[in-house]
Amino acid sequence: MIAVVDYGAGNVQSVLNALDDLKVQYKVSNKEPEIYHADKIIFPGVGEASFAMRKLHLNNLVTMLRVTKKPLLGICLGMQLLSEKSEEGNTCCLGAVPGTCVKYDEAKVKVSHMGWNEVKIDMDSVLFEGIADGSHFYFANSFYLPVFDYTIASSVYDVTFAAAVQKNNYYGVQFHPEKSGEAGIKLLTNFIEKC
């Protein structure tokens, strides 16, 4: 059973549509015990970081998300919240992976970074098994996590930034696999079957 965390920050419907395609069992939940006892956790998120963290606190999910040993996939803002900090709303995040999320430079590029970007696979990970290096994925973000030790894939938008991260049981993708056509479906399948 997969838990999809629904904490009131962004909609989960697109993720559920993709999971329906894959015929996997899931439960949409904001309840700590339910999520804790799932086999895997999908942690989506759209919107503003401080608002989302506040929602996690209100739902009493912060500690559980910090200590869980279950494979967890953060998507978009969900990945950013895995970091230590976000400059968006000067937010203290979960700290499951190191790093601070910063904003793209508006003087150099259009913000937000929205559309299909090439993803370069930097490190072997089961998450990208069977996915061609340089495949396009769909992004919609204004903040990004700079490249660091746990970056497994990266993209370029003025700067090179982390497109996917992995540390222990924590996985994160800056793009939306549920909106990234067949490459995205493959990535979700990998997470469900192999992580």
Partner: protein, 251 residues
């Protein structure tokens, strides 16, 4: 860097896709969900649905359309047509739409742009701008192109950007359905003046028109409707052509 996008647009009436000449004389082009799936498979980067059903149950039919489309495709899509309230936007995004397109409602109430982008993020808010030349001036039209307003096209584009729109969907009514190419000159003017992506719309008739819009007007995306609906142009072939001509596209 980001790929240039090709976006089929589906004008939907009672669940069917229709296409008219200068917004009238509607022709049936098939079921909305079936067509959406076909475009997804052909390699469309994104889809736009404009609901032109004129009923009081409008919101319900739009939400239903979004649900059905969301089940069928795995690429982002925008939905528009008569959306005027924050509650409607919320319902559509929750149902699985990625963005909403706002047109007449933001002319009437420009603050809707800032309210929506604050609440849902600017990436979810597309300002749809319909422009037509009247006495040598680019004027903004609303209500599906039926009603002229006092607004001037270029100024309005800058304004929606300042108000927090995430994208501009810029339709030239003069060029629409002529298949003589996009309004490259005006598009370029807008692209240079705003800091958000611009989608070219109205006038595409052949692959060269798309190339011209990407190269000369430097738009971020090109939208077309009838050209794709009636199989005059295949999206896969179009993207291959663009790639061969050094436009960065997703294949």
């Amino acid at each position: 860097m980001l790929a240039k996008r090709i976006i089929p647009c589906l004008d939907v009436k009672d669940g069917r896709v229709v296409k008219g000449t200068n917004f009238v004389n509607l022709q049936d082009a098939g079921g909305a969900v079936e067509l959406a799936y076909r475009y997804y498979k052909e390699g469309a980067d994104e889809l736009v649905f404009l609901d032109i059903t004129a009923t009081e149950e409008k919101r319900k039919t739009l939400v239903e359309l979004v649900r059905e489309v969301g089940k069928a495709i795995r690429i982002p899509f925008t939905v528009g047509g008569g959306i005027s309230a924050i509650a409607d936007i919320e319902a559509l995004l929750k149902a699985g739409a990625d963005k909403v397109s706002l047109n007449s409602s933001i002319v009437k109430n420009p603050r809707l742009i800032s309210e929506a982008s604050k609440q849902f993020g600017s990436q979810a808010v597309v300002a749809a701008v319909d422009v037509k030349t009247v006495n040598g001036q680019k004027k903004i039209f609303v209500k599906g192109g039926k009603e002229e307003t006092e607004l001037e096209g270029f100024e309005w584009c800058k304004r929606v950007c300042e108000l927090g729109a995430g994208e501009i969907l810029l339709t030239s009514m003069d060029h629409d359905v002529t298949r003589n190419g996009y309004d490259v000159k005006f598009l370029k003017q807008v692209v240079d003046a705003v800091s958000i992506p611009v989608i070219a719309s109205g006038g595409a008739g052949k692959v060269e028109d798309f190339l011209e819009a990407f190269e000369k007007a430097e738009v971020d995306a090109c939208l077309a409707a009838g050209l794709f609906h009636f199989n005059i142009l295949n999206i896969g072939d179009l993207k291959k052509y663009l790639k061969e001509n050094n436009v960065r596209v997703r294949l």
